[in-house]
Symmetry: C2
Subunit: 301 residues, 2 copies
C-alpha cells in the first residue's frame, strides 16, 4: 500500500491561489486592436499578484452553501478586477501618489497618468461586463441579477468608494472613532462583504443566512484592517514587503492610535472569534474557509 502524503493547509492554500490566478487569466481581455495600451495597462495591473483573497472568500462561501454551478467564476474574476481598479486609482499622484506596489511600478508610472485613469475605468467597467456574462450560463438569472446589484452597491459611493472618499478627505486630519469605523467598514469591509454575500446569493442561500454572511464578512474586514494597522507598527519592511511605519509618518489616525496596541490585539482576537462563531452557525460547513479567516487575522504580512 502506497503512503498517502497528507496535504497541509498551506499547500492547499497555495494550490487554490494558483487555481484562482489561472481562472482570472481566462477572463482577462485580449491585448489587440488600436486600443491595446489600455488592455495592456489593465492586465498589467491585474497580474501584479496579491492574495486573491476576495475571489477566494467568494468561492469558499459559495461552496459552504453547496454551490456547484459555473456562475461563480465570472464573479470571482469581476471582484478582483474591481479591487485592482481601486488600487490603480488609489496610487495616482492626486491620491496616494505611490510609485511602487508589490515591488513593481504602479500603473501610472508604467503607462502614464492619463492611461492609468482610463485603465481604472476600463477595469471597473470590464468587471461588470464579466459578471453580466454569468447570465449566459445560469439556471438562476434572478440570483445573478441580485449578485450584480450587490457588487455595484458594495463598490460604489455607499461602499468602497464612499470609504475611500472619507479616507482621502481626512488625510493628515485627526479622525474620530466614528469616522475611522466608517472608513474601515466601507473602504476595506464593503468589498469583503460583497465577496462573501455573492457566494451565498449565487448558491441560493436563504435570506437569514445571507444576512449572517454579510455580518461575518464585516467582522472579517474589521479584524483584517486592525491587523493591518498593528503590522504597520510592529512588523519589518522585509517581512511585510512594503514600508512599515507609514501610518505614523503620515500622522494617520488608525485603530492603534485610537485604542493602543494591546487593546487592538485583543480586539482583533475578539472580532475574529465572533466572525468564526457566526460562520459556524450557518447551515453548511467549510473548514478551509474558517482556517482562511483565522490565517488572515493572525497573519504576519
Amino acid at each position: 500500500m502506497k503512503a498517502v502524503k497528507k496535504v497541509t493547509w498551506k499547500e492547499e492554500l497555495a494550490a487554490k491561489t494558483l487555481r484562482i490566478e489561472e481562472l482570472i487569466k481566462t477572463y482577462l481581455p485580449k491585448e489587440k486592436g488600436f486600443q491595446k495600451t489600455i488592455v495592456q495597462a489593465s492586465n498589467y495591473s491585474v497580474c501584479a499578484g496579491g492574495k486573491r483573497l476576495r475571489p477566494m472568500l467568494m468561492e469558499e462561501t459559495y461552496r459552504l452553501f453547496g454551490g456547484d454551478g459555473p456562475e461563480i467564476f465570472p464573479f470571482m474574476a469581476a471582484i478582483e478586477m474591481i479591487h485592482t481598479s481601486s488600487l490603480v486609482h488609489d496610487d495616482l499622484p492626486c491620491m496616494d501618489n505611490d510609485e511602487y506596489r508589490r515591488g513593481r511600478k504602479t500603473t501610472w508610472v508604467e503607462f502614464g497618468y492619463d492611461m492609468a485613469v482610463l485603465a481604472g475605468d476600463a477595469l471597473l467597467t470590464f468587471a461588470f461586463e464579466t459578471a453580466a456574462g454569468a447570465f449566459s450560463d445560469t439556471r438562476h438569472p434572478e440570483r445573478v441579477g441580485r449578485a450584480i446589484q450587490i457588487l455595484a452597491g458594495k463598490t460604489g459611493m455607499y461602499g468602497m468608494i464612499g470609504g475611500q472618499t472619507v479616507d482621502v478627505e481626512m488625510t493628515e486630519k485627526p479622525m474620530t472613532e466614528e469616522q475611522l469605523d466608517f472608513v474601515y467598514r466601507l473602504k476595506t469591509g464593503a468589498l469583503l462583504e460583497a465577496s462573501m454575500m455573492i457566494g451565498a446569493v449565487l448558491a441560493g442561500a436563504d435570506e437569514e443566512s445571507i444576512k449572517q454572511t454579510e455580518y461575518a464578512a464585516s467582522l472579517v474586514g474589521m479584524a483584517f484592517q486592525i491587523q493591518d494597522d498593528i503590522l504597520d507598527l510592529t512588523s519589518t519592511t522585509e517581512i511585510l514587503g512594503k514600508p512599515v511605519g507609514s501610518d505614523e509618518k503620515n500622522q494617520k489616525t488608525t485603530y492603534v492610535t485610537l485604542h493602543g496596541l494591546e487593546q487592538s490585539r485583543s480586539d482583533v482576537e475578539k472580532i475574529s472569534r465572533k466572525a468564526i462563531e457566526v460562520l459556524k452557525g450557518l447551515p453548511g460547513e467549510n473548514e478551509f474557509l474558517l482556517q482562511l479567516i483565522q490565517m488572515l487575522i493572525t497573519r504576519e504580512k
Copy 2:
C-alpha cells in the same frame, strides 16, 4: 368648441427633455453621510445640463418597439450617469485639462482632482447599481441581464473607453482615416449604440431588429461626430456655447481635415439619410425618433 393648440416639434422636444431631467433626478443618490462630498460631486456633474440625448434615444427606441414597462427608466438614468462619468474624467488635468464645461466649473476645479477621480468612479459604479435595480421591477429578467451586458460592453475598453484611449494617445499626432474611424465609432458611437440597443432589447425586439438598431445607431453616431467637426470650424463661439476652432488650434485630425468641408457636409447628409432609412425599415414606428435624428444632424450647436 375650443381651439386645440397644435404642439410643435420643438415644444415636444423641450417637454420630453424636461421629463427626462426630472426622471434622472429621482435616481440620483442622496447627499448625506460622511461621504457626502462624493455624492455632491456626482450630482453636480450629472445636473450640469446637456441634451440628454442618450436617454432620449433609448426611450424613443423602446417606444418604437412597443415597450411600455418600467424597466427602461433606470437604464435611462444609468446611461446618462456613464456619459457624465466619462466627461468628469475627460476634463481632468491629465486628460483634456478643461476648467469649464457648459459655462460651469468642471468637477475637478470645483471639488478637487482627487474627488473628481472618485466622482467619475462613483458615477460609473452607480450607473450599474441603478441599472441592476431594474431586476426588482421586471417580468423579463433575461432582457435586463442582456441590457446590462450591452451597457458594460459598449462603455468599456471595446467601446467608449477604448475610443477615448486612442483619442488621448493620438493627441497632437496625425491620425489615419482608419484610426479616426475607430475613435468616432467607439468614443462617440458606442454609447449611442448602447442607448438604442438597450431600448430595443428591453422592448423585446427580435435579433435582426436589434442588429439593425445597432447599425442605425452607429450611423447616427458617425453623422453626429462629423457634424461636430463641421461646427467647430464653421460656427461661432456665441452660437455653440464653447470655443470654436479648437480642433485647428490643437492640430487635431478630424473628418473635415481628412475629407474637406464640402465632402464632410455631403457625407453627414448621406449617412443620416441611411440611418433614417434603416430605422424606417424596422417593425414599428416612431416619427419623433426620426425627427430627433434629423435634428441632431442638421443642428447648429
